[in-house]
């Protein structure tokens, strides 16, 4: 506050406190003598005139009931509770991929989109997942998640979980562990896989070719198969997975998880053609002629290198090549050597951690940004530091020190600031240099597509920078029937964003093959903005309310090989974590008790059964005689189940103890309790 006050002083000319009005003075007195007598009589007459005038004006009160009382649009009456967990289920967000955006948009417009779903690029129904998992319906949960993120087991390990950053529970205590719950669902799905994964019926004649089997390609394939098309996926490597396979280290994503989920897709009917390099093995024109639609989901294949002196020396690696080598060959010649990784992103951190696992003697991560500004996810950085990666922040690469054609080290220059006042990239360097000895230098400063070979011989034309011009919303290229998605379109990004673009491409292809306009009537994914809450204070939070901690392998142990770092939840932990979900915006009371906790007057009591695997509200007591109508409870309610009714007067006539216990809560539709939970036709505020 002190801050704003000073601003006021600085920016606004202060009006001097001298403008004083002497309002009352002796002139208010009546004059002496006869004149005063006249003034006195006049004052009486004036008064009578005012009252007379008012008496013929229209009354300000209403003739009830002839004149209806118009209540203000925003008014606070008694509380009402709409749904109750145990009686009503949380609605799942499900729909065909081509209409899914419309569904999300509608929910968002009606304020019923939970933040986790809204913040996910692919709008995975995390709320529904938690609901089903807490109900021990893991198979359904898995399939619900798979409908949108295609590879729950994979993304359950590697996703950067924007859902969790938006989780409303952050505001109350800690976010729900949504990503680990994907993994739980995946692991529990193993027992159902045989019976539940079946070939999808092919109902359409058209065939579609997808180039690339990365997340976006697979997502598009999944949607198209569900729409009844025959899908052929071309992959230049000998195994499917794209960047998931070559770019993601195995300690984060075990190979068998990826293989299982791709195998599921194949069981559903996806035809996978590995080892086919489009452009060289098969010209793309051939595909365009052969198939009714072609989707380019080739991703980014080459690492960008820095044009610093000496960058052609032996021992310089691009990040992708390094990761590929590390992942597949289990070593890239760094055993016992010193590795310097240039870059501050997630790929750089991956490179550093892979280098450690390949036996590097010392791994240094050098970034231009300071520790706080690093673009990599903070948990990744933390894990890397745990494992022994040395971070050198705020250094820019100046020159590679070369000895005999081999890398000997790197000269780094101190960086004062990376971004200017407007937030643009404009690094400012100090004249300070540091030499870091290194045997291997990995540039992890970005990736670029390599499409020239792919598109050769077709009508597709690349831009000067080697990019494929694509309409970012419709995923179309210059050639009708050829679409593109994934990082080719979006640039370097997250796996879940690639999946999202795959869904968009699939929608476009379906519309294209249906002969409909691609854009007409199409709903684009809403981009909701949710408040970023400061982390809640955790003092006094009961252990049962806390987030389940992901068990991790010990830092020193795990850095030696490619075993998984995150060990996963047990069955019970998974159930308990899923039960923590507040089921935001569902309008079903889940007994989170935050209304009772925030009530200043102890007017609310919530009782619930909260065992892992079983969760329901058993009793909701609202003592209206204590309620002070402050509205804090309704404001706190994450689900929107508790809110104020419109019946302001009723709230006073019925200030009694309203108990909703489980049997009573199931009321007849025409019920008219004081709280008006089911009252119709009285102009409810909503």
């Amino acid at each position: 506050m002190a801050v704003t006050r000073q601003q006021d002083k600085a920016t606004v000319p202060d009006r001097t406190p001298t403008s004083v009005r002497l309002a009352i003075s002796a002139t208010d007195d009546f004059s002496p003598g006869l004149k005063g007598f006249a003034e006195r009589v006049r004052s009486l007459v004036v008064g009578l005139g005012i009252t007379a005038r008012r008496s013929v004006s229209r009354p300000v009160t209403l003739k009830y009931p002839a004149e209806k009382v118009e209540l203000s649009p925003r008014w606070r009456g008694a509380l009402r509770l709409t749904g109750v967990l145990g009686r009503e289920d949380v609605a799942l967000i499900e729909g065909p991929a081509s209409d899914y955006n419309g569904l999300i948009d509608d929910l968002y417009r009606h304020d019923r989109l939970p933040p986790c779903v809204g913040n996910c690029p692919a709008n995975v129904d995390a709320r529904g997942q938690s609901f089903l998992l807490a109900d021990d319906r893991a198979a359904e949960a898995y399939e619900l998640v798979r409908a949108r993120n295609i590879l729950p087991g994979v993304l359950g390990r590697i996703c950067h979980h924007p859902c969790e950053s938006a989780c409303k529970r952050t505001y109350y205590d800690e976010p729900i562990a949504i990503r680990p719950l994907h993994r739980v669902a995946f692991e529990r799905y193993a027992e159902h896989r045989a019976e539940r994964v079946a070939p999808l019926p092919v109902t359409r004649e058209e065939r579609i070719a997808i180039i690339g089997s990365g997340p976006s390609g697979l997502a598009a394939a999944f949607d198209l198969m569900h729409a009844g098309f025959e899908v052929h996926v071309y992959e230049k490597e000998h195994a499917a997975g794209g960047a998931l396979l070559s770019g993601v280290p195995a300690y984060r994503l075990p190979r068998d998880v990826l293989a299982t989920e791709i195998a599921d897709l194949q069981t559903m009917g996806m035809k996978l053609l590995t080892g086919v390099r489009i452009g060289t093995d098969v010209p793309i024109d051939h595909l365009i002629g052969e198939y009714d639609a072609v989707l380019i989901a080739a991703g980014l294949q080459v690492s960008r290198m820095l044009p610093v002196p000496g960058s052609d020396a032996q021992g310089i690696w691009g990040a992708l090549d390094f990761l590929k080598a590390g992942n597949w060959k289990g070593g890239c010649g760094v055993k016992g050597r010193r590795v310097l990784v240039i870059g501050g992103g997630n790929v750089a951190v991956d490179c550093a951690r892979v280098a450690l696992r390949c036996g590097a003697a010392q791994v240094t991560l050098s970034s231009l940004e300071s520790m706080d500004e690093l673009p990599a996810h903070p948990w990744e950085i933390e894990e890397a530091l745990d494992e022994g990666v040395i971070a050198m922040c705020s250094y820019g690469p100046k020159e590679v020190l070369v000895e005999n054609g081999r890398v000997a080290g790197m000269r780094l220059q101190s960086c004062l600031s990376v971004f200017d006042a407007q937030g643009r990239f404009a690094p400012v360097f100090a004249e300070e240099f540091t030499d870091v000895p290194a045997d291997v230098i990995v540039f992890a400063i970005g990736q670029a597509p390599q499409l020239a070979e792919l598109v050769s011989g077709s009508d597709l034309v690349l831009t000067e920078r080697g990019l494929l011009p694509v309409d970012g919303a419709l995923m179309t290229t210059q050639v009708p029937g050829v679409f593109a998605c994934g990082e080719v379109v979006t640039g370097p990004g997250s796996a879940i964003a690639s999946v999202a673009s795959g869904h968009e491409a699939a929608t476009s292809i379906i519309r294209y093959l249906d002969g409909r306009s691609l854009s007409e009537g199409r709903v684009y994914r809403p981009v909701p903005v949710y408040p970023r809450y400061q982390p809640a204070t955790l003092t006094g939070v009961e252990p049962a309310r806390r987030r389940t901690v992901m068990p991790m392998a010990k830092g020193a142990d795990r850095a030696r090989d490619f075993r998984q770092v995150e060990l996963g939840f047990t069955h019970l932990e998974g159930l308990a974590e899923a039960a923590r979900c507040l089921r935001c915006a569902s309008e079903v009371c889940v007994g989170c008790t935050f209304c009772a906790r925030t009530c200043p007057d102890y007017a609310i009591t919530v009782e619930r059964i909260d065992d892992p695997g079983h969760r329901s509200v058993t009793r909701y007591d609202l003592d209206l005689s204590k309620c002070c109508f402050c509205g804090l409870c309704a404001e706190q309610c994450p689900t929107g189940a508790l809110r104020h009714t419109g019946q302001y007067e009723l709230s006073f006539y019925h200030r009694d103890f309203a108990v909703f216990d489980r049997h009573e809560m199931v009321r007849s539709p025409e019920g008219s309790r004081a709280t008006g939970a089911d009252c119709r036709g009285c102009g409810d505020a909503r």
Partner: protein, 381 residues
């Protein structure tokens, strides 16, 4: 608090004889004590020789209750301090919390606060002078004043859903943005109010009987006003040029052009008329605030659910309808205030009653009491 009252006292008079004093117990349930105030009045004939206010009938221990609640949960309590002008206590408390926790407030929220508090000032003064006039028997004036107050309360209801205990100003901003068309309606109100205020002025403050009843009654000198800690219109009517909006400007008040209404004689009439004229100044402020206001957020984004200010203490005050309303907050670093104290202007102003009522008649006592405009929710806390 409880005082046993003998209805007749035999007092020795200065001339050596003795006179009988009649002790009248006004309140706590009496039409003109504005709530549950009580005054023990010693009458000599019809002249008040001693008027002793007895307070505490509405003491709810709000300061103690606040120590057991989180910072946000205290806001509904502050509604119940000055129930005629809940916005003020809301705001004063929130300012103290914001100062303590270092929360910046969005500009639009500050404007909304200024608008609602100036509206609240009109509403509160309408109540104050209306009730004060009703004490002298001008009941119709009271109704006219309440008509204006009702219009404001309807505006408030549209704004925040409550008519009396708004819980509107919250740490970090206000609870709701103004609904569609609200500002236009506020402007329409201020326009209509100026005409109504002129009527009210002529109907009551121009009336010969009212002037006879209020002029020269309960005269408070400027020195006494300062020494006794009077504030608000009570002090300003005595010629003390003291208005926190000008002299310790807070929020966006420095951007407003308005006058401080100051009286000369410090009698009941000046106090009442000061209030009425202040309402017109409030209209000026509201008009300016609405023209200066821009769309934007009304609450600081991402405040934690439980505020946990660092240990320390903060005092902040605002100019309420009754005077400078201050809130003193001490934090020990937990989620609950360690101590909250409300510097209540009504409490300090009411302490003047014995000084002002002495020597007047019983009929004047209610005029003096009404002119101090006590609200017992705030006096007793």
């Amino acid at each position: 608090m409880a005082v046993s009252v003998e209805s007749r006292n035999l007092v020795s008079a200065p001339d050596g004889g003795s006179r009988e004093e009649l002790v009248v117990n006004v309140g706590p349930s009496h039409p003109s004590t504005h709530g549950v105030g009580r005054v023990i009045v010693h009458l000599d004939g019809d002249i008040v020789v001693k008027a002793e206010p007895v307070i505490g009938y509405l003491h709810r221990g709000i300061e103690k209750m606040a120590e057991n609640r989180t910072y946000l949960q205290v806001v509904p309590l502050t509604d119940r301090l000055d129930y005629v002008g809940s916005m003020y206590a809301n705001w004063a408390y929130c300012r103290a919390v914001e100062r303590l926790a270092g929360i910046a407030v969005p500009e639009r929220a500050e404007y909304l606060r200024v608008i609602v508090c100036e509206l609240q000032r009109i509403a509160s003064h309408m109540m104050g002078i209306g009730a004060s006039a009703a004490d002298t028997g001008a009941f119709t004036f009271f109704i006219y004043a309440f008509d204006q107050r009702e219009r404001i309360i309807e505006l408030f209801e549209r704004l925040c859903g409550a008519r009396l205990t708004y819980n509107y100003v919250r740490p970090g901003g206000v609870s709701f943005d103004a609904p569609q068309g609200w500002t236009q309606d506020v402007l329409a109100f201020t326009k209509a109010f100026r005409a109504a205020a002129a009527d009210l002025d002529r109907l009551f403050f121009g009336n010969v009987i009212a002037r006879g009843r209020m002029k020269g009654i309960g005269v408070l000198s400027a020195d006494d006003a300062v020494a006794w800690g009077a504030s608000g219109p009570t002090a300003r009517a005595s010629g003390v040029n003291w208005d926190l909006r000008k002299h310790d400007p807070y929020s966006v008040y420095p951007r407003m052009d308005f006058d401080v209404v100051v009286g000369e004689r410090g009698d009941a009439y000046d106090r009442g008329r000061c209030r009425l004229l202040e309402c017109v100044e409030s209209c000026r402020i509201i008009d300016q605030a609405i023209s200066q206001m821009h769309p934007g957020p009304v609450r600081t984004e991402g405040l934690p659910r439980l505020l946990q200010p660092r240990p320390g203490e903060a005092y902040d005050h605002i100019e309420s309808a009754r005077g400078s309303l201050g809130v003193y907050l001490v934090s020990d670093g937990s989620v609950r205030p360690y101590r909250m104290h409300v510097r209540s202007p009504a409490f300090c102003n009411l302490a003047l009653l014995p000084l002002l009522a002495e020597g007047h008649t019983l009929s004047d006592l209610v005029v003096v009491l009404g002119s101090l405009d006590p609200v017992f929710g705030e006096v007793d806390r």
